[in-house]
């Protein structure tokens, strides 16, 4: 018997294959993404909420109806990810951005492809790059990422 046993390690994967029901509002939003559109809801006083909610997060009132926004928008704030982790949406360095779509009054979290942090700024104009129609399933990743509007990153 070994006096000092080697310390063993092993990979251990824990996985839950959840399928969740999304409800009428998020369902409409995801249906929109699948069809290549970005939809918001109308909250209190006509405020447009994207991503949409069933209730206005400020007043608690029920939202009323879907409205198409974008597709372009403005970066309100961002952070640069210099060393992406394995589960990040892009393998190369990228920016997390909050995007206020044209016509929206709230911001939407997504990913911006850019050459570097110097190419990203609050106030910059961006547009979503949708996956191809055949690839879209009704998920926030139906938008692959954002790019600077009017030009390649």
């Amino acid at each position: 018997m070994a006096d000092q046993a080697e310390i063993y390690t092993a990979d251990h994967v824990l996985e839950y294959p959840y399928l969740r029901s999304v409800g009428p509002v998020v369902g409409a939003f995801l249906t929109g993404l699948r069809d290549g559109k970005v939809l918001g809801t109308k909250g209190t006083g006509g405020r447009v909420i994207v991503p949409p909610t069933e209730y206005d997060p400020e007043t608690g009132e029920e939202t009323a109806g879907m409205v198409e926004v974008g597709p372009e928008g403005t970066v309100t704030t961002w952070t640069w990810v210099a060393r992406p982790r394995p589960k990040h949406p892009l393998p190369e360095p990228f920016a997390w951005v909050l995007v206020r779509f044209d016509g929206a009054d709230t911001s939407f979290l997504h990913v911006l492809k850019a050459s570097g942090p110097e190419a990203v700024a609050s106030g910059m104009r961006v547009r979503p790059e949708f996956r191809t129609e055949g690839e879209r399933v009704g998920h926030v990743k139906d938008i692959s990422h954002f790019v600077a509007a009017g030009g390649a990153p």
Binding site: A5, H12, Y16, Y18, S21
Partner: protein, 164 residues
């Protein structure tokens, strides 16, 4: 607008990748299994021998530094005959799942019993471990294929009543 049905469900899998580190005590146990041996660890205070020890005595809270090699034989203290199929089942039902107290140990562990009719299993039955082939031994409980009756007379209830 859409030709297709509206989206009502979303796949939201949770996938967590862990690296499990067995630590010193469990690594000693696993190393024993790799060599086809059961390893126990004795508490210096109460002298109890723990199988599959985590490295300390749960009663006295002291390290169980003394390594004890345990034999291949033990006693069924209690058991369950599994008749119900469930997802991920790898053994043909019905089968016997038993708590086995190795000779010289003061803690039982769960083991599979084979090579006998399931309706003949009983408390106190004497069993022995059947290991996988030597070239298949590894640092895992899967090195123990199962336990089987070893033909000895049943153990007296008094010898294992503290371990139920």
């Amino acid at each position: 607008m859409s030709e297709r049905e509206p989206v009502t469900m979303m796949a939201a899998p949770i996938h967590l990748d862990y690296v499990f580190t067995a630590g010193v005590a469990q690594s000693k146990n696993l190393h024993g299994l790799e060599e086809g041996k059961f390893i126990g660890q004795r508490c210096p205070k109460c002298k109890k021998v723990y199988t599959l020890s985590r490295g300390s005595c749960p009663t006295d809270g002291v390290p169980t530094d003394e390594i004890v090699e345990l034999p291949n034989t033990g006693t069924v203290t209690t058991y369950c005959v599994v008749n119900v199929p469930f997802a991920g089942q790898s053994i043909e039902i019905p089968y016997i799942c038993a708590q086995i107290l190795l000779d010289g140990a003061n803690l039982s562990f769960m083991g599979l019993i084979q090579e006998m009719p399931t309706d003949e299993v009983r408390m106190g039955m004497r069993v022995e471990a059947v290991w996988v082939e030597p070239d298949e031994l590894g640092p895992t409980m899967a090195s123990v294929k199962y336990f089987r009756p070893n033909g000895e007379p049943d153990a007296d209830y008094e010898t294992y009543k503290e371990y139920l």
